[in-house]
Symmetry: none
Subunit: 218 residues, 4 copies
């Protein structure tokens, strides 16, 4: 849907978007540091210099890409939980997130992997969209705690991070499992492919009931 052919030149004025799309692909292919600006330009069908009409630097390109995609994710999540009864919002949130990963693996790759490639990004860049994401999730949990539905032993913002960790790791495992293995290494070490959408139910189950079976009452 949002993926354009690299050679498409019809629309103008969407050059910025074309560059972002190209960057997403190239970053996913090689990683941020190994990605070459000139290769992104070629993939976008523009001259090298053109990129610098829309972005200040390669770093800015990564940050802009991340912000745009994360913003889209946040919007989709907000839509997904709108109109859903509060007690079902957590499930809706998690399912929607993993559905997005499934539908837009390129974007997911940027969010799970490239995001962590730039120390600058990790250590110096305050990340409003990610904060927004955590606040949304934390808000759902806090509301549940206030309604007395959720255990409030764990601070909502910590629980939010734990849940993010779970689904982010699943997304990462799934995205990497999709890669045709380049390595000549021993087979079997790569995570087995699994159904990321179905995994949403597992996450919800773990988060709601935990793993421990109730002791069977007599």
């Amino acid at each position: 849907m949002t993926v354009h052919s690299a050679t498409e030149r019809s629309d103008r004025s969407d050059k910025r978007e074309r560059i972002l799309l190209a960057a997403e692909r190239i970053f996913a292919r090689h990683g941020f540091f190994a990605a070459r600006v000139s290769e992104i330009a070629k993939e976008a069908g523009v001259a090298d210099g053109t990129i610098y009409l829309y972005f200040k630097s390669k770093d800015d390109l990564l940050i802009s890409l991340f912000e745009q995609r994360m913003k889209q994710v946040n919007e989709a999540l907000r839509t997904a939980i709108a109109g859903v009864p509060p007690k079902d919002q957590l499930r809706a949130f998690i399912k929607a997130y993993l559905k997005l990963v499934h539908d837009e693996p390129g974007a997911a790759e940027v969010l799970t992997i490239e995001l962590r490639q730039s120390s600058k990004f990790m250590k110096e860049y305050d990340n409003p969209q990610f904060v927004d994401f955590l606040r949304m999730l934390g808000g759902i949990l806090a509301a549940g705690q206030q309604r007395g539905e959720l255990d409030d032993t764990i601070p909502a913002h910590v629980a939010a991070r734990m849940i993010f960790g779970m689904i982010d790791e699943l997304a990462l495992a799934w995205v990497l499992a999709r890669q045709p293995s380049i390595s000549t290494g021993t087979p079997g070490t790569r995570p087995k492919k699994f159904d990321i959408v179905r995994a949403a139910d597992w996450v919800v189950a773990l988060v709601t009931h935990g793993l421990q079976l109730k002791e069977k009452s007599p």
Copy 2:
């Protein structure tokens, strides 16, 4: 304990270890890509070329560092769960892992952040120590499932990944929160510092019982 002074020159033949230690510090400080081999050499108190007597390349240095540290982690975890009753091993495993993060933040930073900085590392390198880690955790879960103590709806290896995601994310949040914030940005966006060791209990609680309160029986 394992931290040597950079200027220590006493023992010879431990040069390899000195270099790994220096690399850990420098990688933690700047990230893998921004780290300079010459800076690692200086920190280790050796000449640039000496590093290449012990490691094939900068990449090899990262991988060796990761493997060594992860191996130590795995050994520590194995020790931590040895002699512990099966039903308590999951708790012991999680607590031990987060305790290690707390005691060796430098190593934790390498494991949580730098690990993801090299695409090579993420995509091309089959990672025996990480596989070992996941197998150990998965084994604990599978055993619990077989004993009928744990819900076996979720495949053990997926549950292991989810749990790893949780504790890795907590470790990451905690490690980053330790950084003196360089940015002049708006305060409050940086994750609040929390007690990583105490957080172990939260993780165990979430994993065992989940968040949902039992419906109050009348």
Copy 3:
């Protein structure tokens, strides 16, 4: 008088002049090489491409600017010595030149500094206006020599260059001294500001009588 507002857009067809004016300001501000064509365009209130309707290249812009200003200088000098008794022309010439520097420091900066920034300009460009300048000055000197008023030991064209060197250096020192010192360096190294118009008398004095006091006769 010759300085137009950068935003002035009234007269059309004087675009060429507006561009020259803008170039003068920007060259004076940053130097020829550091000056950006796009900045000149902005200062002139025209599009980048428009400059190329009036000038072949950035080099051509510098040369055109120099020629135009030098031509104006030569015209002003010719006017200044017209009708002046031959024996007073040298004095009139020098005073007029330094008066121009004082009144049009922007133009002076182009003539004294930027002129030397382009190797092309210095080495490959035959400079008719500068030749004209030297001929005018040399002519005054040669006439004085022929009238027997001036020492003819020194070839007139060499003397002309020496005099030009003197007043050009004074102009340069004066122009640079006008700059608000950006450097935080030790004070006192920047040339002290002096009265460039009054300095004309010193030049005339040096050129006519030299520095050496006549030996007092008993």
Copy 4:
């Protein structure tokens, strides 16, 4: 004497000097801005990167070159006036300077032309060696004024600048006249070649007695 062959590779440890020599030649050939670092490296017989072991940047190379050469000039001038009776020092100074220009035209070219190519250099860099030069010359003049031998109407530091302007302009004219004319322009516009050493006498004559002939007393 100080000019080494570009291909000479015998001496090591004089690499820094070889690079300076190469830079002098290349700057003289193309000008600072048009000079390519890689061409300097080739001329010096070193790799591109080697230059950056000895100089921080291309700018630093120009500044270092200027400082070193100007320092040599100042030392030579100090030697030239040492032991000379005060009243003859001005003559000795001027003659020595123009002799240096004659003997080291490459260095002269850097001092007269390239020096002015970098705005940075002209406007932001406080130039201790040039200040030293002017102080030496100003000191000679001031001493003469105090001894009552020289006219003190003109401030010594202004007179020093005027004299510098004269000899610098002569040096420039002479250096440029040496160039094989690349231009296809009209002949005759290039300054005629003259004897720069002999011109020293003219400068001294002008500075001491001026151009004006004493009116013949009856």
